[in-house]
């Protein structure tokens, strides 16, 4: 190996050195990221949250707000969040983001308390679709609407 390496020009040696650095870094990054997978995740869906969240531990629950599930009480708001498999009731009192509505993606931060999720904070999540309002109306009219209401 040494004989081969000394036969190479300095340029080749430096080039091989950089390739080795990049390969080692790529491998290290892959290992670190796969080890951290559970911690890099920003929120859990309603199906995972029971398994992932211990009692009274602060976690984030994300999903879509179920249609016709928003109820306003004197002491706040309650709504169902779903990942199309299971849904969970969220209770919250505080300021809601502008994009909060039924069918919208939300991420709520709080604690699991029995069957309900008590949120301290509600964030809206939107998808990567951008279009003018007229186009959205047209798609709804033609019945080919696939996005959120």
């Amino acid at each position: 190996m040494e004989i081969i390496l000394t036969d190479l020009s300095p340029k080749m040696r430096r080039g091989i050195g950089i390739l080795l650095i990049l390969a080692a870094l790529g491998l290290a990054a892959m290992l670190v990221l796969s080890a951290l997978r559970d911690h890099v995740v920003f929120f859990y869906g309603p199906s995972d949250i029971r398994a992932k969240a211990g009692h009274s531990q602060i976690v984030r629950l994300g999903g879509l707000v179920v249609e016709d599930s928003i109820q306003k009480d004197p002491d706040g708001i309650r709504f169902q969040v779903t990942d199309q498999i299971t849904s969970i009731e969220v209770r919250y009192s505080g300021i809601l983001p502008d994009l909060f509505r039924e069918g919208q993606g939300v991420i709520t931060e709080g604690r699991l308390d029995g069957d309900v999720f008590r949120a301290d904070n509600v964030l809206a999540k939107h998808d990567e679709t951008y279009m003018p309002a007229e186009v959205a109306d047209l798609l709804k009219e033609q019945g080919v609407w696939k996005g959120q209401e």
Binding site: K11, R14, G15, I18, I21, L22, L25, G26, A29, L33, R37, V40, V41, F42, F43, Y44, G45, G62, I95, L96, P97, D98, L99, F100, I107, N121, V122, L123, A124, K125, H126, D127, E128, T129, Y130, M131, P132, A133, E134, V135, A136, D137, Q148
Partner: protein, 245 residues
């Protein structure tokens, strides 16, 4: 080809042609792009007028990644072939690149507040972008942290190469993990999920930022080259026995 370009005199002759073209493209694309972004493009069906932040935020983010990639390629040319011009290129691109990263973070924050309901969250996309900004700052500090600037070139170039690993993490963070940040709208499988009327201003603004980046990088490279020559002249003046000017 790289040996051909590595001659500073030839480099100056070539960039003297590219520079005015890049400036012209920047001015034209910026005027047209801003007109499209603020007046001639429609409001979004969900986000309303706030969507216009996208026309600054997204091209700046693309440029922040592209500038870093260009710097890392220059760093490899410096480390392997030892071309001083490649090192000067990376140094010249650092500040404009860092500006793009900062613009991305700030406009993203201004966009996140009304839409998501928060200025900042520690999700994978936002955090990896912040790390990119810190990599830029680290590179600038390392490259300029020595009394003789050439001494910082090697460690700073190595930092650039190491930091490349962050680029795919930024790009794919929204696919690999649950994030608050939405997925990619333009560079994605299955084609763009953005209306053509909004894609056009986005691309025109990206062209404007690319033109600005090229113009500023050329200016800064020429400045750094002049600075190096000045340093050499000063050293010769202080010790005339070492060489004749």
């Amino acid at each position: 080809m790289f040996d051909y370009l590595a001659n500073p005199t030839r480099f100056r002759a070539i960039t003297a042609v590219i520079f005015p073209v890049a400036v012209a493209v920047t001015v034209a694309a910026l005027l047209y792009g801003l007109y499209l972004a603020f007046f001639a493009s429609p409001a979004d069906y969900q986000q309303g007028e706030t969507v216009r932040i996208m026309y600054i935020h997204v091209p700046a983010a693309w440029m922040a990644l592209l500038a870093y990639l260009a710097m890392a390629v220059a760093a490899i040319f410096y480390l392997v072939w030892r071309h001083p011009l490649a090192d000067i290129g990376a140094r010249a691109m650092a500040v404009p690149g860092a500006s793009f990263a900062l613009i991305t973070l700030l406009t993203g924050s201004f966009w996140g507040r009304p839409m998501w309901g928060t200025w900042w969250v520690w999700d994978a996309r936002l955090t990896s972008m912040l790390i990119l900004f810190f990599l830029y700052l680290g590179y600038i500090a390392l490259a300029d942290g020595f009394e003789r600037p050439e001494r910082g070139s090697k460690p700073a170039s190595l930092l650039l190469v190491v930091g490349v690993i962050n680029l795919p993490i930024i790009k794919f963070s929204v696919d690999w993990w649950n994030t608050l940040h939405q997925g990619s709208s333009v560079l994605r499988f299955g084609g763009p999920s953005i209306d053509p009327a909004m894609l056009l201003p986005l691309l025109v603004m990206a062209l404007a930022m690319l033109g600005w980046f090229i113009s500023v990088s050329i200016l800064r490279m020429n400045t750094l080259l002049a600075q190096r020559r000045l340093n050499v002249l000063e050293i010769r003046e202080q010790s005339p026995q070492r060489g004749k000017v």
